[in-house]
Symmetry: C3
Amino acid sequence: MEGITPEVAMYTVNNLWILVATVLVFIMHLGFASLEAGFVRKKNTVNILFKNCMIIAIGLLTYYAVGFNLMYPGEAFAGGFFGFGGFGLTLPEGDAGGIAYADGAYSYYADFIFQGMFAATCCTIVSGAVAERIKLVPFLVFCTFFVSIAYPITGMWKWGGGWLDAAGFYDFAGSTIVHAVGGFGALAAIILLGARKGKYTDKGINPIPGHSMPLAAIGVFMLWFGWFGFNGGSVLSADAGGVSLVFVTTALAAAGGAVGAFVVAYGMFKTYDLSMVLNGMLGGLVGITAGADQMGPGAAIIIGMVAGCIIPASVVFIDSVLKLDDPVGATSVHLVCGLWGTVAVGLFGDMASMTQVLIQLKGFFAIGIFTFVFAFATIYLLKITVGIRVSEEEEEKGLDVAEHDMIAYQEVEKVTNYDLAVE
Amino acid sequence: MEGITPEVAMYTVNNLWILVATVLVFIMHLGFASLEAGFVRKKNTVNILFKNCMIIAIGLLTYYAVGFNLMYPGEAFAGGFFGFGGFGLTLPEGDAGGIAYADGAYSYYADFIFQGMFAATCCTIVSGAVAERIKLVPFLVFCTFFVSIAYPITGMWKWGGGWLDAAGFYDFAGSTIVHAVGGFGALAAIILLGARKGKYTDKGINPIPGHSMPLAAIGVFMLWFGWFGFNGGSVLSADAGGVSLVFVTTALAAAGGAVGAFVVAYGMFKTYDLSMVLNGMLGGLVGITAGADQMGPGAAIIIGMVAGCIIPASVVFIDSVLKLDDPVGATSVHLVCGLWGTVAVGLFGDMASMTQVLIQLKGFFAIGIFTFVFAFATIYLLKITVGIRVSEEEEEKGLDVAEHDMIAYQEVEKVTNYDLAVE
Amino acid sequence: MEGITPEVAMYTVNNLWILVATVLVFIMHLGFASLEAGFVRKKNTVNILFKNCMIIAIGLLTYYAVGFNLMYPGEAFAGGFFGFGGFGLTLPEGDAGGIAYADGAYSYYADFIFQGMFAATCCTIVSGAVAERIKLVPFLVFCTFFVSIAYPITGMWKWGGGWLDAAGFYDFAGSTIVHAVGGFGALAAIILLGARKGKYTDKGINPIPGHSMPLAAIGVFMLWFGWFGFNGGSVLSADAGGVSLVFVTTALAAAGGAVGAFVVAYGMFKTYDLSMVLNGMLGGLVGITAGADQMGPGAAIIIGMVAGCIIPASVVFIDSVLKLDDPVGATSVHLVCGLWGTVAVGLFGDMASMTQVLIQLKGFFAIGIFTFVFAFATIYLLKITVGIRVSEEEEEKGLDVAEHDMIAYQEVEKVTNYDLAVE
């Protein structure tokens, strides 16, 4: 180990952090799978797990095939709306795996795999909202287009050096670019899909509680756990000051979100509502994501707490007023708190000003409209061709039996029964 | 990336390890939540999950507000019993986020967030012991005082450079300072709270088994996983020799704890008792925590194995002889094995001697008495004012319905029933 | 922090990665525990969790006692079939904890604990295959011998510088050395043990579905999560190019495995089979493990996809044609895909050639035959002495009640019933 330079050591630690952050973002997919499984009915559990398995697979494979080079098409496209750097991984000059890339902070492959883990997230957000009634294959087809085309194009607008970057829009780790994009996709999907059978009736709105609060809680803790990589890795180096600050703001915002949701949910429902507190934590995390590198601890607590307060109000508004059926509250967590987090950068960040607020709104809605239209058109096409909704009978039986011929929890000891019959 | 010095690279890797350790300690809160949920009855599951969500939130927010500056008040207070460095985060001179702090090993923010994750742990320990009968809000009020005042004051006595540090007391990662503190709080709480309804009757002692062994097992594995950060991060740098040794002693002690509990539980109960083995692992981990940096592998195995042997005996003693009702065995794991681990430093550590054993006992009981009195007084005040225990009816129904208007596992497919009724 | 050299900084970051990878490999034991628990019936859940707790404990303790020095006996044994460096940890000259070891990449203790986490894996693989019918103590006795003798001896042949290393055999992170070894142990065990009661009857083959798909899914995500450490840590340094590439190939192979299993399972069963997709991901991971450092992204996808395609075919073949009862599909995942991954190095790796394929096969079968014979002999001896199978009554009742006097899920609220009886 002779002749190591300080630059190589520094490069190695920077790259290592991107990789560790990748692992943390990966496990967010278990977080989403577990949370969504907990919030749906027993009879649709296998289905939601299946979707989450396929989403991470599709997300990584399409990001390899086209997504990465749509999102980071290279400098030739700076300031633009669209660019494409070619299929597969196009190694920059030199040995792209080993040689420092991105100003010595990480390797080309580390960049790809970290960004790839992000990409699949946006579809996972949709999968919760459309749970319990969407047909599996059309959903996976939608995911494939959404994650491989829509997500990287709008992502490029900011992170790939596109027009929103040039316009001064700021979104550190993706309150808009990841979370609101997932949220807009979810919104388009649930409008086209309609509510679950029995949800909105003449006699009023029927709550449909999830089947396992432990699964939901495991999911949220896993998401918070992974979020340290999601936000912390977005520093794009192991810079001690930067990553440490991001850890503090991320954790305090989640804590603030729990407290905000606790208080507002108690005020609204006069009970201590666990699902609101869980979503409040997530709301706080989504809220801080756009400006996690720019806030002091106090501002982070305020941002998280406001996000937590938003959650119960938003969930009730979307459910009761808009009558949009979102089983897991994905639109409230990712779209509404994504909006709040994006705006909060203009209120509390380094460039806080009314001008910045307007720029933030411009970026949010530019990305939002593109995403919504893309998702709506794709799902509409699927709806009028192959259909997107399971039959009433299938929905009644549950998607686990209807689509997977399997149940999530085998209660009956089949063999024993069988033996008894034989004997 | 020109002009990087070796010192900066070293600082970055040290700081990165503190942050990764922070993430690992964070997930211990999922470990506790899952373990405690598994060990309580179905009807109290939402309640225990809710508590664990709020504890991490309260722990972080109060540690930001006052705890950190009570625990590390600065050098002016060296040798003392009490100090306070001011509200919020008081940045040291210079750019506290970015500039090296603590002799170049980590940043100010990394220090705060790592220590903050530790703080909440002590309340989580209490929450398991008081499960299934305590009222939610008084419990959270107790937690707020306990984590923001009691924990940092006694923590300062050693880690903040206080009088126990001056007296030669040694507690590497908190067998006393974290675990026994939680255990003493739990002891005070269960004395004041009384046993669960139906636990101790004229006809004898009634075991009340937990509702999900998979949740309990997930919890324990998550705790061991996080413990690598808990003990490893307590090296306070990424020093290769130090952290590697701590990993070895931590893992071997947990393994020893499993074997010790396996054997003794078999001897006592003539069966292979999973809950004892799970608690044996935790006992081994608590036992090694005080001296994880001072032991060789052989001593670590002995310490862990003894802790594992202690667990079944202690659980039975506390339950049958003391008639104190601790649903998860928190006092045995954290208080009794915390005592063992603290003493073991004097038996196997670098300064092993009878004198050191006495110093260790002095530190343990000094901290223990303060903590116990603080916790007892706080809970007693809550008991005689707002009351700390749910009504018999509420306990019977379960806290999930009584306090949260929710059940953890929705078995009935509500919508289907509803539809059938309508049709 | 004066006088830090770049070499020390580099050593520290390399060592840190080995330690972080250790933590990731550790949590694979939760992955296996959760996966296996999900795939067995409710009545055998405590038993499978118990086994997984004891396996990691036994694995670490025996690896400390003899395994590490059997597997890495030192240079004196290079090229050989057997070597032993002495009991316990034999520190190399100098302060083995702190001083750089292995060309400055990691410390002696880091090496031990990383390798120790690997060792226990091979028994965990067996535990899934023999689930629901093996007696606990004979199984643990088998594990003790298997993990402390068989695994390190064949491991030495390659990783310890033995004869297979000299022969040009390549197995980067253990498709053969870890996974197939576990798979061969499983094969020997299920041949000697026989199928579960009611599995193969005159009326045909009876599927015995697992009791919890969420547990199975949590297990698989945890395994993939840990596999980043399993493969990434096998680079044996934090080298940016090497570890980044391994992350990419590992993740893409898992994604390919999911897609391959999805498609083939649909073709075979005309349904979307979650358990096949879960095992497909694992198959992809096992497949890439032997050559994760040598493949480009495209080859990694192909290797994973082929492994995924193999899974449903292999599961059906072993179950229907060979009539070997493997409740979790461990032989398909670890043995069959281990073979595929080992061969794939000769097809796609740096030394791709027919010669290399033959060398790979030689290594696979040399290790396989030794392992199979060792496992068969050990289990046969246990079978004819103490017996390895629970009685029919115990199997019917379930091992949880029969061996542990405990049930995994306490549905009945005992205390309430008790109270009612008393009142």
